[in-house]
């Protein structure tokens, strides 16, 4: 034995360093005092970021992970500290974000006795983590943590929770550091036979369309996907999670498809004779009516996660494998194709989209012009002003709701990992914590688009943003209502606005100032431009409360389960 004899808490700190953790988000408490003490010892190597709430810490670790591709780490105490992580873990789980969450628990002898702040967090978090552990023997602690990091980043990434009872933190054992972080498990590569079959299907297709998802970002496969599109002359569209994988202005890119996606993307998918799905899972939000998938076109589905294949839709050909490898091998064996008629059709769809967007905008302006007696901004004006004012490499974060969809539709993105949003779980309140994590991870200007509903949920993280001098520009699209649900009520519930009118008297400028942040209100393009200029100079968060109109709708809208013929592009 040539290891050192150290405490479980010390092992946690040493193992985190060994695994490459440089930042830990969290909140202290009774059952993690020992861990915090050991981490304090190592504060030169691991930066601890104290959030205002454990949920914010989980979202911050998530933002850190999404912005960098590294494993995010978060720590919380037992009981309520641990349960407060759950929404953050579920958010990360549905969007395949690698996280390691460490929780303290009561000593082993008190487990199962409903002790103070005791919760079976392994049981509670089981369905919202990729895997979880409780460590009851200090001798297994280091290897369990290594395994947690390995699982988090292997294959399709996801969150892993490690629960450590207090007596395991204080017990001592030998510790031998590993020389390198845990390597991800080798993944199964796509079979030659199936790739060959895919190449044949592509050769036979006349109207191919590529639908990609977040797997392209987590699998670092952007260049490979674009190369395939180029070789087979196919347009591309993506799910919400796929945004930022390819530049928004790429000539082949039609944008996000689905419920609030671009008309041209959804229509192109509908008219295609072959859909090539890459690192996407055919979520109901991205697909609309599922029946059409068996009707029109054949599908090649490539994913690293075998359980996604044939889960939501049946593909003619499924290929399990690492995306980057599979796509580059597929491109290599595929014959170059040109589809002039299909290209022309895509151009026509784009023109149709432009026409419909213009129409929708005209209708909106007409409506706002006639009803608005106070100055206000439209989402077009806000998004365009922000993208003109902030650097191209800024990290764009959103909350959940109308503002999220507008940003997803319109904000010009240039590089992968610059668009962070809660796609699968749709977590209102995700944004501010994630923005703190993203800024700390990258040091780059971070913009949070949020709404008055979402922002109200976790605005307490302004405290952390101020303490950490996080350069976050918070854009609140403040329309006084819970816009997305209200939109459904407008369209499908006869305008009965149950529970969606906020009618708050909250002054977000004063709130922000109360937290020590700078803030301004903007109701006109000039005010917004001035506020953005001011925000750009700030060291620390700057909140811009933008006055918007509650009658703006997210369009186009493919009604739930609807087909392309039912798409709503303008409301008269």
């Amino acid at each position: 034995m040539n290891g050192m004899l150290i405490s479980g808490a010390g092992i946690v700190a040493e193992t985190l360093i060994e695994q490459g953790c440089d930042t830990l988000f969290g909140y202290p408490g009774g059952q993690v005092i020992d861990l915090f003490d050991a981490l304090y010892e190592k504060r030169e190597k691991i930066r601890f970021v104290l959030t205002a709430h454990e949920q914010g810490a989980a979202h911050a670790a998530d933002g850190y992970a999404r912005a960098t591709g590294k494993v995010g780490t978060v720590i919380a105490t037992s009981g309520p500290g641990a349960t407060n992580l759950i929404t953050g873990l579920a958010t990360a789980c549905l969007d395949s974000v690698p996280l390691v969450a460490i929780t303290g628990n009561v000593p082993c002898s008190l487990i199962g006795r409903d002790s103070f702040q005791e919760v079976d967090i392994v049981g509670v978090s089981m369905p919202v983590t990729k895997h979880n552990f409780i460590v009851k023997d200090v001798n297994e602690l280091a290897d369990t943590l290594r395994e947690a990091f390995r699982i988090a980043k292997s294959g399709r990434p996801g969150p892993v929770l490690v629960d450590i009872p207090k007596d395991v933190q204080t017990a001592c054992c030998e510790f031998e550091p590993e020389s390198a972080p845990a390597a991800p498990e080798p993944v199964r590569q796509a079979s030659d036979h199936r790739l060959q079959k895919a190449a044949e299907m592509i050769a036979a297709a006349e109207r191919p369309y590529i639908y990609f998802g977040g797997g392209v970002i987590s699998g670092n496969a952007s260049a490979e996907v674009l190369a395939l599109a180029e070789k087979i002359d196919a347009p591309l569209g993506c799910s919400l999670m796929g945004l930022s994988a390819v530049p928004s202005d790429h000539p082949r890119f039609l944008g996000m498809q689905g419920m609030h996606g671009h008309y041209a993307a959804s229509a192109a998918e509908d008219e295609a004779d072959l859909v090539i799905a890459l690192g996407a899972r055919f979520s109901d939000r991205a697909t609309g009516k599922k029946e059409r998938f068996s009707r029109h076109f054949s599908i090649i589905h490539i994913d690293i996660d075998g359980a996604e294949l044939n889960k939501n839709i049946h593909a003619k050909l499924t290929i399990r494998g690492e995306l980057r490898d599979a796509v580059s091998r597929l491109t290599a064996i595929t014959k170059q194709k040109r589809h002039p008629a299909w290209r022309k059709r895509i151009e026509a769809l784009r023109e149709e989209e432009t026409r419909r967007t213009q129409e929708s905008h005209d209708v909106l302006m007409q409506k706002l012009g006639s009803t608005a007696d106070t100055p206000r901004l439209t989402h077009f004006e806000i998004i365009d002003a922000v993208s003109a004012a902030v650097p191209q490499d800024a990290v764009i974060v959103t909350d959940v709701g109308q503002h999220q969809m507008w940003t997803a539709q319109r904000y010009p993105l240039h590089t992968p990992r610059t668009f962070l949003t809660s796609g699968g779980l749709g977590t209102m309140g995700y944004g501010l914590g994630a923005a703190v994590g993203a800024f700390i991870a990258t040091g780059r200007r971070t913009v949070l688009f949020t709404g008055d509903g979402s922002f109200g949920m976790n605005l307490t993280e302004l405290a952390a943003a101020v303490s950490e001098h996080a350069n976050i520009t918070v854009i609140i699209m403040n329309n006084g209502v819970l816009g997305m649900v209200r939109q459904w009520q407008t369209l499908f519930f006869d305008r009965r606005y149950a529970g969606t009118t906020l009618n708050r008297q909250t002054d977000f400028v004063k709130v922000a100032e109360g937290f020590g942040a700078k803030a301004a209100r903007a109701a006109s393009p000039a005010e917004l431009a001035a506020a953005l200029a001011e925000a750009g100079k700030q060291d620390g968060p700057f909140v811009i409360d933008c006055v918007t109109d509650c009658n703006e709708l997210v369009l186009p809208m493919l009604p739930p389960g609807g087909s392309i013929d039912e798409i709503i592009t303008a409301i008269k």
Partner: protein, 172 residues
């Protein structure tokens, strides 16, 4: 077309593994007909046998989701025709002078065993496929079943097909 599938699931023998496996079924809306769990020939491994009804599609989804669980080492869909499937039943029936002979006849025909005899009650033990157990229970109903307990299915494939816990010894 919906039919019954039996799958063998080899798992790490650690606390919580049964929750993970059964939790996957609950969370994704799959129904379990029967689930049994026990130790295997190799320390550190348990074997879970799950029977469920569903179509090919549901079966595939169950298998791929199970394979994703970290503690699951191997999943095998048992071939209906190449598998020995057994269930054990303990059934307590009312012991009366007028029924005793009839009960004994049924017990004999089904190759069941009386494993406990008291003045008022008999306990029958029966091993067999589910259909045999069901038929036996049906016949016993008229005699007055006092209580019963069945284990659920265990299943092993015939011949060389095995759920491997470790390196298998070579066939001699």
């Amino acid at each position: 077309m919906s039919k019954q599938y039996v799958i063998g699931v080899l798992v790490a023998n650690i606390s919580g593994v049964l929750s993970r496996v059964s939790g996957m079924f609950t969370r994704r809306g799959f129904n379990i007909d029967s689930l049994t769990v026990g130790e295997t020939e190799t320390a550190g491994y348990s074997r879970i046998t799950v029977a469920f009804h569903g179509d090919e599609d549901i079966k595939e989804r169950i298998v791929t989701q199970l394979e994703k669980l970290h503690d699951v080492k191997e999943v095998e869909v048992m071939d209906q025709h190449e598998t020995v499937v057994r269930e054990l039943l303990l059934l307590k029936v009312r012991n009366t002078a007028e029924n005793r002979q009839d009960i004994m006849t049924v017990v004999e025909i089904f190759r069941s065993k009386i494993v406990d005899y008291s003045a008022t009650a008999l306990i029958c033990e029966l091993t067999g496929e589910t259909s045999k157990i069901d038929a036996f229970i049906d016949l016993m109903k008229s005699f007055g079943i006092m209580e019963m307990c069945r284990t659920g299915i265990v299943a092993v494939e015939r011949g060389e097909n095995c759920l491997k816990t470790a390196v298998q010894p070579d066939p001699v």
